[in-house]
């Protein structure tokens, strides 16, 4: 089997993004952001609309809007004590409404599901560097995130600034969604973050097991999906998520222990 350089680099990017998505997903799922993950991705849409109006790269517009959305969610959550999930739910609907007014049908489909167009060199480079940064953040802040998850009060007495940690996590989460925008589309990147992590949560008995299973399931889905997409000449995103979904349903076959 021969691969062209562009196929090889898109597989490499797929692997890197899976590692990032798998790691971020574990904490998103444990922090009860399962629904939020899909919703937050829609915040990218008004950004894409604005970018097209101003003639700049839609990816930049989407990334900026996602990061802005993360800060807004954090600020509302910190100031008002409304649960993150409720705030994201409201923001998602508003963003979808504004986004659909500003972007045309084809652009929207591209943004939601990704495109089959070939990725440029710099898109791959940014994707790889971004994925490495996301994975680095999760591994570095793993302990802080675990303690804050069990009890924010206990975390603060252990010297953890939970407000700052929440902001950082939301930013990293939004950035991970932005990374997948061009390749998978925002909608499917949200799913690649959540589905493998939900599968891992069912199967794992410890934190490291969960992180490994989640990354493994995300990698298997993206690599297999990308390969089949190449053979069938189809968009990779929907295939990747279908495979991730199949893995989740297979995990259900293993009965619950308690």
């Amino acid at each position: 089997m021969f691969m062209t350089a562009s196929e090889a680099s898109s597989i490499l990017l797929a692997v890197a993004m899976s590692v990032a998505a798998g790691l971020v997903g574990c904490f998103a799922v444990m922090r009860r952001m399962t629904l939020a993950a899909d919703s937050i991705s829609h915040v990218a849409l008004p950004g894409i609309g604005l970018a097209i109006i101003f003639g700049i790269s839609p990816i930049l517009g989407a990334t900026a809007m996602l990061l802005f959305g993360a800060i807004l969610i954090w600020a509302l959550e910190t100031r008002t004590k409304i649960p993150t999930e409720a705030i994201i739910g409201v923001m998602f609907s508003v963003a979808l409404a504004i986004g659909s007014m500003m972007a045309s049908g084809e652009e929207l489909i591209d943004a939601l599901f990704g495109t089959t167009r070939e990725l440029s060199g710099w898109e791959i480079a940014v994707g790889l560097a971004g994925s490495a940064a996301v994975a680095g953040f999760i591994l570095k802040f793993k302990s802080e995130l675990v303690v804050a998850l069990v009890s924010p009060d206990v975390a603060s007495t252990a010297g953890i600034d939970t407000t700052r940690l929440n902001l950082l996590f939301l930013l990293v989460f939004a950035f991970t969604v932005a990374l997948g925008l061009r390749y998978l589309g925002v909608l499917l990147m949200g799913s690649l973050i959540i589905i493998p992590a939900v599968t891992a949560r069912r199967l794992a008995h410890s934190l490291n097991e969960m992180l490994s299973i989640s990354v493994g399931a995300a990698m298997f889905s993206t690599v297999t999906g990308t390969y089949i997409a190449g053979v069938l000449n189809r968009a990779a995103g929907p295939l990747i998520i279908s495979i991730a979904g199949a893995l989740f349903f297979m995990s259900l076959l293993r009965g619950t222990e308690d």
Partner: protein
């Protein structure tokens, strides 16, 4: 030298004032028990002391104080794949403590290896409570804040925990702030008692604080008999 000075502390939630103009101090290396009926604001006081909720007045810890906090019953999701070992390891990493320090903390509270391998959701209330105490002990805290640490723990477990707390106190001079409903424990171990929930908050040594009069003011007369029994036994 004082480990903690609290002056004119007030905490309110909306229009309800939970703590009003509370002042007390805790000398280094001593233990202060906080008693009072449900709703007297004991846990709220702790949350103000750790800076988790807004308050008026002043709270001053001695410079460089490291806190260890064991909260009252935590609601955690049952299916989190986080083991006791993961949780203690996280504290070790955050506080730059050594692995030996963490192992010692687990031994002190009587947590065996097989319990540490369980996920925190699968632990019993008592096992989880002991895990929280071990977590608090990692990194050698100067002050322990214990919110009913023995609630839901069986008698041998309670003894292990009390023993662990006493040992860090005598060996490392740790200051202990303890919320407890067990007046016999309070009477035996506390240097001072802070009574919340009466007309005026009251602070003093157990012998003077735990009189029939103050207790009946705190809890109502129907509890007098029960309290008497406990103190004699």
């Amino acid at each position: 030298m004082n480990a903690l000075d609290v002056e004119h502390l007030s905490v309110s939630f909306g229009r309800t004032e939970v703590l009003t103009d509370l002042s007390f101090s805790v000398e280094k290396g001593t233990s202060l028990a906080i008693i009072g009926p449900n709703g007297a604001g004991k846990s709220v006081l702790f949350r103000a002391l750790i800076g988790a909720i807004p308050y008026r007045g002043s709270i001053r810890w001695a410079p460089g104080t490291r806190l260890g906090y064991v909260p009252q019953k935590l609601d955690i999701e049952r299916d989190l794949p986080i083991t006791g070992r993961d949780f203690l390891h996280a504290k070790t990493a955050v506080s730059s403590a050594s692995a030996e320090n963490a192992a010692l903390a687990a031994t002190r509270v009587g947590l065996a290896d097989e319990i540490l391998s369980m996920t925190i959701g699968a632990m019993s209330g008592g096992q989880f409570q002991r895990l929280l105490l071990a977590f608090a002990l990692i990194g050698n805290p100067d002050v322990l804040l214990l919110d009913e640490p023995a609630a839901g723990i069986d008698t041998p477990g309670q003894e292990t925990m009390t023993e662990a707390i006493r040992r860090v106190q005598t060996e490392h001079g740790v200051t202990v702030l303890l919320i407890s409903h067990d007046l016999s424990v309070v009477y035996e171990y506390a240097n001072n008692v802070l009574c919340l929930g009466g007309e005026h908050p009251w602070c003093g040594p157990p012998r003077t604080a735990l009189t029939t009069e103050t207790l009946s003011e705190l809890y109502g007369t129907q509890l007098k008999f029960h309290v008497h029994d406990r103190l004699r036994g």
